[in-house]
């Protein structure tokens, strides 16, 4: 591809170059440049264009048709349960006209220069890749039609692609995609301007409701079926730990118990006596800020995982805790109290309008509340695991990673190789939730593999490793104060938020939240209140802080949506009516006017803060849930709304609190507006899953530390939801399926309003406010 930006967006590319990693007998390869949407995006640098690698001039989406008609679509985003391998391939298949039964997916290795951005994070895959994928497919379709026209000696306009074939309309002659692929390959690739996308009426899959819709099955199953479905139900799907070679070694790592501590000494004599243990080696760790670097420690390398685990148990290690400094005194209970104390005093002003002191002074009624959300572990069902081989001056990794680029760089660093000499094969992820955005575990495997040149080494994290050494969700204190006038109307809003920043992972602790953290529902808070002040006092980090699905939206939504319910109660008003009044009239707010320059990386013109859409999801969720209906004693309805990842979610939970304090969620109604819905079936599944995860966040999940050491080590102590905690019924209401509506995120935005809706429902059922998560046994007795 040319480096010249004036070149057509879709262009011929070297066949050989693109066939790397593809099946050998390819006949047609189409590549499309990163984002063919608008030239202006190059200047404004929003959305896909703003992502690292987004605008490199190498093509990165491939469609490949074999002579036998098999269509291969290369998917370069990581599959972690959101369904992107099915959904993106579906987009291509639909636009191309491919028969789903003859479509296969090939997972791209890490190669940002070739594929563009691969960092599967921020609920971005579909909204950034829908257009490029469709245009790649449209170009391929156009070439197949041209090939058919040439074959028949007729004008191209008379030839139209149907399902896996091209038909000459006047004569009824037909040629299959496979028959045409060889000739199509010889043609020049049409430029972007000449492409015509299919009208919605001709789409077979995109934006069609199919599969499970609120408990009812349409079309007998989802159409198209999940591309990895058969592999998953038969056990043949390949996750990170399923990559195995006959000469493979198996390792587990003993890591410093406190962030910043390091190895003082190790006695491996007993470990080496364990049958199957091959060797004990050390892994270098980085001092804080550790970034994506491993924590360091001692690796026990063995002939199988069990021997490695037993060997680790037999190690005698002395850690140098002094090196950890304050982190070795970190106590989450004391920390929470310190933050609650700090929340009483002003902090860095983030946003201000009106005169908050005056407003609170003249208020008829003032109320305040302080909320706490603890550390949590993402705890994907597949703990971190990776296989790395260092051989003949090259590195190769097989790993379940959200961030292939960072993985490639990290492995190259550990092996002392150039990035080009490292291949990262991305397996299926057994859940990600932000944990696998960090490639530290692959770098550990690389560190060990370097010491066993020629042999593949798998580093397996145990569940204990995962819960004790993850990059934790930031704990958070949020203090809110409001002034109401004599009619109960809000006239003043003061919110202070305190959390350690993810910035502390990469640089000296900033002690304040960064723009992208504040922009997750704190400074983007939309309430129409005359006097508002938002502050961010200091909070320091003592563990590795990292992304957890929907990230800082979680504490912000919990605090804001809980407090809005408290304000409604103080005003003697219905929560729904009061929330709509707080939101104010439908309007489009430029996030910059809220001091949010981030906006999830999206263009504020296309993606303003849209209060009309917030109102609509609140209205829809409450209407579907039968808001205001009579409930049996012990039950309550709770509501919350949140805007994140440029999508809009409102949730109503119907909850029963039992005499022993147990909570049963009878029903959840989730109204969701993510703009155009490409694969509604997977959108529904994401929302259903977010509902369950949100219930866990509300009721159970907490990581605590004492003297810098995590107190929980497995699922008997770190609780995540089980089937008994799932709603007895969950209904997802998709709104605004406007094909022209800018697309929003799906994977994360369902989650933030779940916990506050549930806690508001608990209040409705019991009169007890939950201000500190998790609920745990707060309702007992």
């Amino acid at each position: 591809m040319s480096q010249d930006r004036e070149m057509p967006m879709i262009a011929n590319v070297s066949r050989r170059h693109f066939l790397k990693g593809l099946a050998a007998s390819s006949a047609l390869v189409v590549a499309v440049r990163w984002d063919p949407l608008l030239a202006e995006e190059e200047e404004t640098q929003y959305g896909a264009a703003a992502m690292p690698g987004g605008w490199v001039d190498n093509p990165n989406v491939f469609i490949h048709i074999d002579a036998d008609g098999t269509v291969t679509v290369v998917n370069h985003r990581s599959e972690m349960g959101q369904g992107i391998r099915t959904s993106l391939v579906m987009v291509a298949a639909d636009e191309l006209g491919a028969d789903w039964d003859r479509v296969r997916v090939e997972q791209a290795p890490a190669n940002q220069e070739k594929y563009g951005n691969q960092n599967t994070d921020g609920s971005r895959s579909m909204r950034h890749w829908f257009s490029p994928m469709r245009r790649a497919a449209a170009a391929a379709r156009s070439m197949l039609e041209q090939a058919a026209a040439n074959e028949w000696g007729v004008p191209k306009e008379e030839c139209r692609a149907g399902v896996h074939l091209v038909r000459h309309e006047p004569s009824g002659r037909e040629l299959g995609f496979g028959e045409l692929a060889g000739r199509a390959r010889e043609l020049s690739i049409p430029d972007r301007e000449s492409l015509t996308l299919k009208p919605d009426s001709e789409l077979r899959y995109i934006s069609r409701e199919t599969g499970m819709v609120n408990g009812e099955l349409r079309d007998d199953s989802a159409r198209p079926p999940a591309i990895d479905g058969d592999g998953i139900v038969s056990g043949s799907a390949v996750f990170g730990g399923d990559v195995i070679f006959d000469d493979q070694l198996f390792a587990v790592v003993a890591r410093p118990p406190v962030y910043g501590a390091n190895l003082k000494s190790v006695d491996d004599a007993e470990a080496l006596k364990v049958p199957g243990v091959v060797k004990v080696v050390t892994i270098e760790g980085a001092d804080p800020p550790a970034g994506f670097e491993p924590l360091g420690g001692v690796a026990v390398v063995a002939e199988n995982t069990w021997a490695a685990i037993e060997g680790r148990r037999a190690l005698s290690i002395e850690w140098n805790l002094e090196a950890a400094g304050d982190n070795a005194r970190y106590d989450t209970e004391a920390y929470r109290k310190a933050l609650e104390e700090a929340a009483q005093s002003p902090g860095k002003t983030i946003r201000e309008s009106g005169n908050i002191e005056e407003a609170l002074e003249k208020a008829d009624r003032r109320l305040d509340a302080t909320y706490y959300m603890p550390h949590m572990a993402q705890a994907p069902m597949e703990p971190p695991v990776a296989v790395v081989r260092f051989k003949d001056g090259k590195g190769e990794a097989w790993a379940p990673v959200q961030h292939p680029r960072a993985t490639r760089e990290g492995v190259a660093g550990k092996l002392g190789l150039d990035v080009e000499d490292v291949t990262v094969n991305v397996t299926l992820l057994g859940g990600g939730f932000g944990r696998k955005s960090k490639p530290d575990f692959v770098m550990e495997a690389a560190s060990v593999a370097r010491q066993f040149e020629g042999r593949p080494v798998r580093v397996q994290w145990t569940r204990e490793d995962d819960i004790q050494h993850t990059y934790f969700h930031a704990n958070s204190v949020d203090r809110l104060e409001a002034g109401l006038d004599a009619d109960g109307k809000a006239i003043g809003w003061l919110h202070r938020t305190l959390s350690p920043s993810i910035g502390s992972l990469f640089a000296e602790d900033p002690e304040h939240k960064g723009g992208f953290e504040l922009g997750m529902g704190f400074n983007t808070m939309p309430f129409d209140i005359p006097a508002i002040r938002l502050e961010n006092p200091k909070a320091s980090a003592h563990v590795r802080i990292g992304w957890f699905r929907s990230v800082y939206n979680l504490p912000h939504a919990f605090a804001i949506q809980s407090f809005a319910a408290e304000m409604a109660e103080a005003a003697g008003r219905d929560h729904r009516d009061y929330l709509l009044e707080l939101l104010g009239p439908a309007r489009r707010i430029d996030p910059a006017t809220f001091n949010d320059e981030w906006n999830y990386g999206e263009d504020p013109e296309r993606y303003p803060i849209n209060v009309g859409r917030m109102r609509a999801v609140v209205e829809r969720a409450t209407q579907e849930a039968g808001w205001g209906r009579e409930l049996p004693p012990g039950r309550g309805l709770g509501l919350a709304m949140h805007h994140s990842f440029v999508s809009y979610t409102a949730v109503v939970m119907e909850v029963e609190v039992q005499d022993d304090g147990g909570v049963i969620v009878h029903r959840a109604d989730m109204a969701f507006d993510c703009g155009r819905q490409v694969n509604p079936e997977r959108i529904r599944s994401q929302l259903e899953g977010a509902c369950v995860m949100g219930i866990g966040i509300a009721l159970h999940s907490e990581v605590t530390l004492s003297e810098g050491v995590v107190a929980q080590d497995n699922f008997h102590q770190y609780h995540i939801p089980r089937m008994e905690h799932a709603p007895r019924e969950v209904r997802v209401h998709l709104v605004n399926n406007d094909p022209n509506a800018p697309m929003g995120g799906v994977g994360e935005p369902g989650l933030p309003p779940v916990a506050p809706a549930l806690c508001n429902a608990i209040y409705a059922a019991t009169g007890q406010r939950i201000r500190q998560l998790p609920v745990a046994d707060q309702l007992a007795g």
Partner: protein, 154 residues
């Protein structure tokens, strides 16, 4: 050292008797459909059938399955009930990431063999030990009902 049948094939496992069946299956026999999730019988990702009974392979030493019949997710398609459960899983789009679903299917299949038409409470009780971090429980419930004949088949 143990002699056992795995998915109908005889195996002589030359491993220490205390090695959990999970790791023998995954690392030694290289049957990787059975997953590691917790190692302490808290999550069910490692569920296999031992003589037809749902068993957590992560806490089952190889010595305990000497002479027994072990069935893993890889062989579920050969089992009439298992195949029905797999199909229900596909029809309803149960899986998200899919990592736990092998264990879920093993647990569901064992349940239906024992109780062909379980009610919701019985399903919840039987499946409560199988964690799914993606939160697919509602569809798991629906799929078990579909496979059980509790709901009309398509």
């Amino acid at each position: 050292m143990a002699s056992l049948t795995i998915n109908g094939e005889e195996h002589e496992l030359k491993v220490p008797g205390e090695m959990p069946l999970l790791w023998a299956l995954r690392d030694v026999v290289q049957l990787t459909g059975t997953k590691f999730g917790c190692g302490i019988s808290e999550c069910g990702a490692c569920t296999v059938h031992v003589d037809g009974e749902a068993t957590r392979s992560c806490v089952t030493p190889v010595s305990a399955v000497d002479g027994k019949k072990v069935t893993t997710i890889e062989a579920m398609a050969d089992d009439a009930t298992g195949k029905r459960v797999q199909q229900a899983w596909l029809d309803l789009g149960v899986a998200q990431c899919g990592y736990c679903q092998g264990g879920q299917i093993m647990a569901a299949t064992a349940l239906l063999k024992e109780n062909p038409e379980p009610d919701e409470e019985q399903i919840r009780e039987a499946m409560n030990g199988n964690l799914c971090r993606c939160g697919t429980y509602n569809r798991i419930m629906a799929a078990i009902k579909r496979a059980s004949g509790g709901e009309e088949k398509a």
